[in-house]
Symmetry: C2
Subunit: 191 residues, 2 copies
Amino acid sequence: MRRTILQMVEYAILSSVALGPKSGYDVAGWFERVASHFCSAGYGRVYPALGRFEEEGLVVHETLPSERGPERKVYSITGKGKEALLAWSGEPASEPKTRDEQLVKALSYGFLPPETVLELLRVARELHAEKLAYFRRLERGLEKQRADGGISDDAYIGTRLTLMRGIGVKESYIKWCEEASTLVTSREPLR
Amino acid sequence: MRRTILQMVEYAILSSVALGPKSGYDVAGWFERVASHFCSAGYGRVYPALGRFEEEGLVVHETLPSERGPERKVYSITGKGKEALLAWSGEPASEPKTRDEQLVKALSYGFLPPETVLELLRVARELHAEKLAYFRRLERGLEKQRADGGISDDAYIGTRLTLMRGIGVKESYIKWCEEASTLVTSREPLR
DNA sequence: ATAGACATGTAAGGGGTTACATGATTTA
DNA sequence: TAAATCATGTAACCCCTTACATGTCTAT
């Protein structure tokens, strides 16, 4: 028996289907709305992957009419797919990889006028606060869904965990913006 | 006058040289030791970039003997280079992009035995705690360097800001590991 | 002598984003 | 009737990592 080896993004696509049957369009939307803070994929990644998964027997699809728009190919995970996913998920994870333009720019903040930097940090703080509010809305939506029995306990846990992390990341980023402002301000009188 | 447009990683390379003259080898080491939590680049990225920067007049190099090993090409930023860097750094930053295998795996934690998940979270927590300790050592080193006058105030601010963020990220990740453990444990008796 | 750190580069291949191509349905 | 959303897919290109190639110096 050969183990199915995929890349991280492919496992993310498979996970999305495992959390609940979805079309390629749904999966891409899920990435944008709930997964973008830890993994992302567009149509160009999703559709070919689902096609390959089906060839390998990891998922199957049903063609269903859409409420509005053309027909949908709704994919569900198979036993084999779930087995492959859980074998991978049960292994230790590698370190997160972040590419953060804000911090690269911050490397030069000592060379910029403090007023400029404070304004940049204020704007950044606001954007992170908006995203935090968005995550909190998602969290309330998830709790409601759970109360209504619209989601299995197993799927709830997974989504909840990623949401908790999204909220934690944004809270800590907001804190950084504030501490950075303090550092830059404390320096100002010394000039 | 044409504005110099580079990619984020290239600005990071330029920033590294702006914080203090470095060889390509030094820049690659800097990425690995102090910048890997927000941006990364290996030799394959660094050497060609420094060559191009010199052609464009953003940096200049001096060939100096090494204390041990072959000759070093030590690059310094030019006026033009600093101008290009500060023009870019003074603009608002785009959102950070993270690829976190841990969270993709966490999507399936509801489908795994709680004991397995708790062990995975314990190991993850430990790794993040080690990295946190490493960042704190870097922080102490930076403060010492500053006290000794081994670094300019301008360069200190930039490095300090990225270090603060590295510490914040690790602290919040450790917190997540603990909260995730609680969530998984609280669920166990219900099975 | 041999391993490991120091040092500079090139080349190839794989991964991932973005743009393109097409079309149905609903709402303003 | 035009725009927005729903829906499925392909193709090209760019980025980036990884492996390769080469060589010095120090310490064991």
